[in-house]
Symmetry: C2
Subunit: 338 residues, 2 copies
C-alpha cells in the first residue's frame, strides 16, 4: 500500500505538491510534476478511499433525485434501493434531496431541476427523452454536477452514467419465453403503454424480432393503454372480444392489473397465456391466482442501490465509475422464484 507521504518522501517534495499533481490542481513546475507522475506510476499508487472519505466530510455533498414515481408502483423498489443506500451513506456526510413527479411531465421535471440546480453535487434522474430535458442535463454537467440516468437513459446527453436494463433484450427474452410456455400455435395480443416512450418501443421491437422467427406465432393486434389500468381494462376487453382467437397476451409495461381483470371478466384466464413485466404487488397477486404465467424482472432494487453507490464512490471516495452503462440483466420470474 503506497501512500501520498511515501510518494512525497521519494520525490523530495511535500504531500501538498503530490496532491496537486494527482488531482490536477495546477501550480506545479512541469519537472516536479513529471517526477511525481513517474513515481506514482512506478509504485502503482492508488489513493485510499478511506482517507478521501474522511477529508470529504467537510464538503457535505448533496445528491438530487428526480423520479416519475407517483402513481407508478414499479418505482417503489427502485426507491427502496435508493433510500437504503442513502441511509448507509448518510454517516459519511452524503445527503439527498428527493423529488418525484406524476408521469412524464416535461414542465414538472424542468421546474424541479431548476430548483435543485445550485443545491446539489450530483443528480439521479429518470429523464424524459425531450430536448428540453437533455439541454438541462447538459447544463448540470457543465456546472460540474455528476449526473446518473436511472431506468431510462438519455444517451444523447452528456450524463456520466446510465443504470438500468436493456429494453430490447427484455422484449426479446419475453418473446423467446412465450414461445416456450404458450401453446404450439399462438395468436398474440399485445398491450403496450405508449409508443411515445422509448423503452416500450424497444421492448416491442425485441419481442417482434423474437416472435417473427417462428411461423407458428402471430401477432394479431397491438393496443396502447397509456400505462393506465382502466384504459388497459377497456382496451384488453375490446381486443379479446374482437379477436377471440387470441390465446396469448403480452403486456409491455404498466396496466397489467387492468388487463388481467379484463381477461378475468371474460373468463378467459385458463386458455390465455399472459406474460408481463415487473413484480408490482398487483402483478404478484395475479401470478398467485395463476392468471399471469411469468414476468420479466429488471432488478429494480439494485438499480436504485447501484445509482446511489456510483455517486457515493465518486463524491465521497473519489473513484470514477468504471463504465458508463450499468445494465441489470432481465430475469424470468415465475411464482416459485419471485
Amino acid at each position: 500500500m503506497v501512500t501520498i507521504k511515501q510518494i512525497a518522501d521519494l520525490c523530495g517534495v511535500s504531500r501538498g505538491t503530490v496532491d496537486r499533481v494527482i488531482n490536477e490542481r495546477g501550480n506545479v513546475k512541469t519537472e516536479t510534476r513529471d517526477l511525481v507522475l513517474n513515481v506514482i506510476k512506478k509504485l502503482e499508487y492508488r489513493p485510499n478511499p478511506a482517507g478521501k472519505a474522511l477529508s470529504a466530510r467537510k464538503n457535505n455533498p448533496v445528491v438530487g433525485i428526480l423520479i416519475p414515481a407517483e402513481g407508478n408502483p414499479f418505482f417503489d423498489d427502485v426507491i427502496r434501493g435508493i433510500k437504503t443506500a442513502a441511509e448507509k451513506y448518510e454517516i459519511y456526510g452524503l445527503n439527498i434531496l428527493f423529488h418525484t413527479t406524476r408521469g412524464y411531465n416535461i414542465r414538472a421535471q424542468l421546474q424541479i431541476l431548476d430548483e435543485l440546480k445550485n443545491k446539489i453535487n450530483a443528480l439521479i434522474i429518470s429523464p424524459i427523452n425531450d430536448p428540453l430535458i437533455i439541454n438541462k442535463i447538459n447544463e448540470f454537467v457543465d456546472e460540474g454536477i455528476f449526473v446518473v440516468t436511472l431506468n431510462n437513459d438519455a444517451d444523447e446527453s452528456h450524463r456520466h452514467c446510465y443504470v438500468g436494463s436493456n429494453y430490447v433484450n427484455g422484449g426479446e427474452t419475453a418473446g423467446a419465453l412465450l414461445q416456450m410456455i404458450a401453446p404450439p400455435k399462438a395468436n398474440i395480443g399485445i398491450i403496450m403503454g405508449s409508443s411515445k416512450i422509448l423503452g416500450h418501443r424497444q421492448r416491442l421491437k425485441g419481442f417482434e424480432y423474437s416472435i417473427n422467427k417462428n411461423n407458428d406465432f402471430r401477432i394479431i393486434d397491438i393496443q396502447e393503454n397509456d400505462d393506465d389500468d382502466i384504459c388497459s381494462y377497456d382496451k384488453t376487453r375490446e381486443m379479446i372480444i374482437r379477436y377471440p382467437e387470441i390465446n396469448a397476451l403480452f403486456i409491455v409495461a404498466a396496466g397489467v392489473y387492468g388487463a388481467c381483470r379484463a381477461v378475468l371478466s371474460l373468463n378467459r384466464q385458463d386458455n390465455l397465456t399472459i406474460l408481463a413485466f415487473d413484480t408490482v404487488p398487483t402483478t404478484i397477486e395475479m401470478m398467485k391466482n395463476h392468471v399471469i404465467k411469468a414476468v420479466i424482472y429488471q432488478h429494480p432494487y439494485r438499480q436504485g442501490q447501484r445509482a446511489m453507490q456510483i455517486i457515493f464512490e465518486y463524491l465521497v471516495n473519489g473513484i470514477d465509475p468504471d463504465k458508463t452503462k450499468h445494465i441489470m440483466k432481465n430475469e424470468i420470474k415465475i411464482l416459485e422464484n419471485l
Copy 2:
C-alpha cells in the same frame, strides 16, 4: 453527523473513554459508562466507517479463502466475484490467502484450515458437512475469526454468515418451470450429483415437491453421476436407452455436459426437454445448440462478491452484518437473457 469528539465533549470525558465504552474495552466506571451510553443513544451516534477504516490500516487484516473449486467450473464466477472485490478492498489494507481443493475432500480441507488458522482474521469457506469440519469452524470462531460459509452452508456450526442460494427453492423453481416448458405429459429422468451432498438432496426434494402436484408428470428414474462428466454420459445413456419413454431430463448439479453428449449420441435432443443448473461454458454451449432449454441460475459472481463485502465491512469498517443468511435468488435463464 455526531462524532466521538462531540460525545466526549458533551459528557465531559476524553475521546479515549468514549471509545472504551463504544467498543466495550472495559476499564470504565459504571457511571461514566452509563452517561456515555445515554448520550450516544440520544444523539443516535453512528460511527463513521471512514474513520474506522483509516485506523484499521494498522491491523493488516487477512481473509483466508477455501473453496473446492478445482475441476469445478461453477466456482469460476464465484472466484471472479471474490477476487474483483478483494482487489477493490486491497487499498484499505485487506489481504487474502486463497486456497482451493479438488472435490469434497475432508482431509484436504482440514489440512489447509490448520495452515491458515493463525494467519487470518476472517475465513470464507465452502465447507463439507462433516463433524470434523464443523468442529474446526467452531474452533476458528472461538478464536475470534469471522467465518462466512459460501455456496454451501454449515448451519450446525457457529459460523457468522452464510452467503448462497436456497437449494430447495431452486429445485422447486426447476420443477415448476419444467411443467411449463415440457410436453403436457412428461416422463422425467433425473441425473443428480450425489445424495451425499446436502444441496443436491435439497434440490431434488424441491423438485419432487413441485412435480408431485401434477398428475401428468412422472419421475421415471434417478441416477447419480458424482459430478463427473464421463460417469454422467454413461448413466444418462443407460437411462435413456432403458426408459425410452423419458422425454424430460432434469440435471441437478454438475455433469451437465456429459449428460447432454449422451442425449446427442442417441439423437434424442429434439424430443427431450432438458433443464439444468448454472451457466458454465459447456452448459451455455449446449443452450446455444438448443440441447438445453433453460437453466436455474444462482448469481455465482454476486455470491463471491457479497462474501468479501461482508468481511470487508466487518473487518475494515467495523460494521456487523445485518443478517446471518444472505440468499441469492434462483433465476431462470434461457439463451436470450444469459
